[in-house]
């Protein structure tokens, strides 16, 4: 690594050694990928979406391949927040990387409980999941209206003792309106985009491929939509943005930073290439060296329009 360049960023008080974070839902609690690369390389890890009680998730099949992407309908299968605190945080704290806990719930009370519980835990930030498209209650039903977002975020903000990142759904008419509501309610940052609601059909059997019928689209296919939304939101709010959606390499990451993101998350790319996160960090370093960029912060919002 070139010692003259700095990849450090600070997102709403969360110090990241580089702006590349493993995206929630794609990385479990880090154990599996730790066999493929050194987790110390990552700027941060957003863990699998957590709920108050353990969840079984949706019936399989939970994944369908689409052109340049995938649909998933996992449905928040997780061991519950207590198991995370007891079993997973000690493992994750063995690495020098920021831990972001992703929290979901069915009700506002659930979200309050989650944020309060996680604020007392040894983590660096909380990502409020108001955008999972694969569960019936909570999540996207709150996240798809400005009023819903304002209500949940303003209530949980009172319980938050850690930086609060609100994860936004792209399945709305105007994402800037949602982002503004999150900011007005006290969000310290926003992350976007969660997956785009879609479906896949098997013409041969005339049935949906996913057990849950619909699912969330991710992968390179969604990148243009994600970039556009990050750019729009960056003009609408003053809080930092974590950008994601189809990032597979350093150039993709640079594009999100230029669009206005202070950091990026990536997940789906790792399903195909377990080294995707590390290669993205290296690609970002190479871009900076080639373009004489000393600090990655110089790229944030640097889009020339």
């Amino acid at each position: 690594m070139n010692s003259n360049i700095s990849l450090e960023v600070n997102v709403a008080g969360i110090k990241l050694k580089n702006p590349v974070i493993a995206a929630s839902g794609c990385f479990g609690f880090g154990r599996e990928y730790s066999r493929y690369f050194d987790l110390n390389r990552l700027g941060g890890i957003a863990v699998k979406g957590l709920t108050r009680e353990p969840r079984k998730g949706n019936p399989p099949p939970r994944i369908a391949e689409t052109p340049a992407g995938i649909l998933n309908s996992v449905g928040l299968q997780n061991p519950g927040v207590q198991a995370f605190i007891e079993k997973e945080i000690p493992f994750l704290r063995g690495f020098d990387t920021a831990i972001i806990a992703n929290a979901s719930g069915n009700t506002i009370e659930d979200y309050e409980y989650m944020v309060k519980t996680l604020s007392d835990a040894d983590i660096d930030g909380i990502e409020l999941n108001l955008s999972c498209p694969n569960v019936k209650e909570g999540c996207m039903s709150f996240g798809s209206t400005a009023n819903g977002v304002f209500e949940v975020v303003s209530r949980v903000k009172k319980k938050a003792g850690k930086p609060l990142i609100v994860k936004l759904t792209p399945n709305v008419t105007d994402i800037t309106e949602i982002a503004r509501a999150a900011e007005a309610a006290g969000a310290d940052a926003v992350s976007l985009i969660n997956t785009l609601l879609g479906m896949a059909i098997d013409a041969k059997t005339r049935r949906p491929i996913l057990g849950n019928v619909t699912g969330g689209l991710s992968g390179p296919a969604v990148k243009p939509v994600a970039l556009r939304m990050v750019w729009q939101v960056s003009k609408a709010v003053n809080i930092p943005i974590i950008g994601m959606g189809g990032i597979s390499n350093g150039t993709d990451a640079v594009e999100f930073l230029l669009a206005g993101a202070s950091a990026v998350m990536m997940g789906t790319a790792g399903f195909v290439n377990p080294m995707a996160w590390v290669e993205t960090i290296e690609g970002l370093e190479n871009y900076m060296a080639e373009n004489k960029v000393k600090s990655v912060t110089e790229l944030i919002g640097g889009l020339i329009v």
């Binding site: 399989p60 939970r62 994944i63 391949e65 399903f271 080294m275």
Partner: protein, 258 residues
């Protein structure tokens, strides 16, 4: 990451199934019967994900392993066009293979269609004195690897749905006859869900333990994405667990076939 290997050989086994021989000393040495590899098929646009494929057999001396693959879609079609000398991107071996216990002296493997493939190396590696194989196919034209299986076991039975080769009927009919003749110590099943379910239910009546190899649409292949799940018992309850990590081989009494 050690994941780029050379293809040594590619040959068609029947109209839509081919055998790829791949050079990798590490995988040949490390792979256990029943484990899978996760194979990249394309450049990532039309075929985005890897394909999970069971290891069919390994040659530990030559440092190669074989994948038997049925052309089912775009990904497997791309793989079928690969030539000796081409490079292939493979992660693995992954998951839990079959249990090879020395105390199991009599075993039976039961395979249906493309489910027969992981059973070949199992027969080769299992220390039992008496190994039988019962393989089922839809019809005669789909019967493959017959000689390889015959050479690796002490008794081979073939069933076809239409009776065009071997016995007419289901592999589980033959399994029932063989079990009634002499109780095996262990049975291994791989094939369509209906076949495995019928086999597990049958063997339960005779108190014969068994293992099944599950299949599911898969994402990461290493246990992180939680997409390739199947239903398994958990105390008095059940849970969805990863086929790629805790499987693909499960104990027959553990899986819940809905």
């Amino acid at each position: 990451m050690d994941n780029i290997f050379k293809i040594a050989k590619s040959e068609m086994l029947n109209a839509d199934t081919f055998l790829l021989t791949i050079e990798s000393e590490r995988i040949a040495k490390k792979a256990r019967p029943g484990q899978i590899v996760h194979v990249k098929c394309g450049n990532g646009t039309e075929v985005y994900l890897r394909r999970p494929i069971s290891i069919c057999s390994v040659d530990r001396e030559k440092g190669t392993f074989d994948l038997a693959i049925q052309i089912r879609g775009k990904g497997t079609k791309i793989l079928s066009n690969m030539k000796p000398g081409d490079e292939i991107d493979i992660i693995g071996p992954l998951g839990q293979g079959f249990s090879l216990y020395p105390k199991h002296r009599k075993i039976i493997v039961v395979g249906g269609g493309i489910g027969i493939f992981p059973l070949l190396q199992l027969l080769k590696d299992h220390p039992a004195d008496n190994k039988k194989a019962i393989l089922g196919f839809r019809n005669r034209s789909l019967v493959i690897l017959e000689n390889e299986f015959r050479q690796s076991c002490d008794g081979l039975f073939i069933a076809t749905d239409d009776g065009s080769y071997g016995e007419k009927g289901f592999v589980t009919d033959i399994l029932k006859k063989e079990v009634e003749k002499e109780l095996p110590d262990m049975v291994f099943l791989c094939g369509p869900i209906v076949m495995m379910k019928a086999g597990v239910e049958l063997l339960k009546k005779y108190n014969v333990p068994c293992e099944v190899s599950m299949e599911q649409r898969m994402g990461c292949g290493i246990g992180a994405c939680l997409t390739c799940v199947c239903k398994v018992k958990k105390g008095d309850d059940w849970e969805y667990t990863q086929v790629c990590k805790r499987g693909p081989v499960f104990s027959g009494d553990e899986v819940i076939f809905d």
